[in-house]
Amino acid sequence: MEQLVRDLVPQVLGVLVRRGADFATAEDAVQEALLEAVRRWPDAPPDDPKAWLVTVAWRKVVDLSRSESARRAREERVHEEPPRGPVADEDDTLLLLFLCCHPALTPSSAVALTLRAVGGLTTRQIAEAYLVPEATMAQRISRAKRTVADAGVGAPGDLRRVLTVLYLVFNEGYSGDVDLSAEAIRLTRMLDAASDEPEVSGLLALMLLHHARRTARWDEHGALVPLAGQDRSRWDTRLIAEGVEILQAALARDRLGAYQAQAAIAALHCDARTAEETDWSQILEWYDELLRLTDSPVVALNRVVAVGEVDGPLVGLRELAAVPADVPRRTAVEAWLRERTGDLAEAHRLYAEAAATASSTAERDHLILQAARLPGS
């Protein structure tokens, strides 16, 4: 029943919101309907659980707004008749997802609300995943709901924002007892099934291709294993095949975007049986494409790595000069290029410098090891 409920809750919420319930009321109503389902379904399982939940939850919405309007009888409330949502045939879960990624929310609030309302995770699970007290997460979520309610249901987030939020969730990885990467993939699959935008497929492919290599990315002590050093036999070939297939279908639609380009790069890495077999020329072409699409300094830095592989470290260093000094990991890339030119003492110094400014312990430890591997000056 749990999986069924997790699939149905966002759909039911979406129906209520589209019918005009405000977000917070709709969620309370769904929670109450679920409690009733727990009591009644074991003896009398419904033929259509979704329809059952919608009926019961809608009755709760009406009850809740009645007592609410009684309580605030003298107040003028704009939310009693909220604007109706988009057209009725749009998928309800999708509507809810867009609402949770409302432009009025900060990314972290959107993440929390999405995991709660669309992902169906408990507040405690989300709090544990993000290592904050449950009360803090509860507050973050209820503030987010208020923000969405105040901003009005009529202005849901755009697709780009939804994709950003899903990718943020994916990158959080595994923490607490919830696999956030798997959750992000589940939600992106849902979105992809209901959308005809190739960038959604691009993001899904990108996630699958990264996820396929997840177990190889960390050693048994939790240390970061760079791509070149990974045991490729531990990559999940089934996920890679699926990711590549989704990506190819997306690319065939001829509307390229940044997620598709990143997925293409990931696919080329997945395609190499050994690090030496990596097709860096093609990867560099995709980085050129990605840079045109995003104009991001982080992409420019990653492109320099590909340049270093294709044209050698001296050309790489020359192109690195154009990357702004404050781009994270620039020093690590410079260290790697210096090492390739044979300037080991300088590489050692740069690795140590990069370690001092790393933003995670895994990255810092990896860079310190790189420095320790090389003779100092």
Partner: protein
């Protein structure tokens, strides 16, 4: 979101610009403590609060002294230059927001109800998961 440690020092590289707390009136001390609680409440309300602790000024240095031997202890040192008084841990959207929260903490009232403008040390956690890149 990123976590930051806001460190309060009793004394250190950036000493307080007003009389030490034991010379304040009881009302001033109470107002100061109430403000600290208010800061924590406000962070809770914003969904940013993670932890807050105050530390006793007593403490000692301890180190390993070989297998099977009791640890070596040293101190307490009344004259240690820098002493951490306590901390707050916050989980916020940006470095700017962490600074804003620290500045607010630093505006706690002191003698005469004036903000004491104490220096708060702001340190980012090394926790951000490395973004996957190829």
């Amino acid at each position: 979101m990123a976590k930051y440690l806001l460190l309060k020092h009793y004394r250190g590289a950036k000493p307080l610009d007003c009389a030490p707390m034991d010379q304040w009136t009881p009302e001033e001390v109470q107002a100061h403590i109430a403000f600290m609680g208010h800061v924590a409440d406000q962070l809770r309300e914003r969904g940013e609060f993670v932890d807050a602790q105050a530390l006793s000024p007593d403490g000692m240095w301890v180190r390993f002294d070989g297998e099977g031997r009791p640890p070596v202890t040293d101190g307490p040192f009344a004259e240690t230059k820098d002493l951490i008084a306590g901390w707050m841990v916050i989980d916020v959207d940006s470095a700017e927001r962490a600074q804003e929260a620290a500045a607010y903490l630093s505006s706690a009232p002191g003698p005469g109800g004036e903000p004491i403008r104490e220096w708060i040390e702001v340190r980012p956690f090394l926790e951000n998961p490395p973004t996957v890149t190829d």
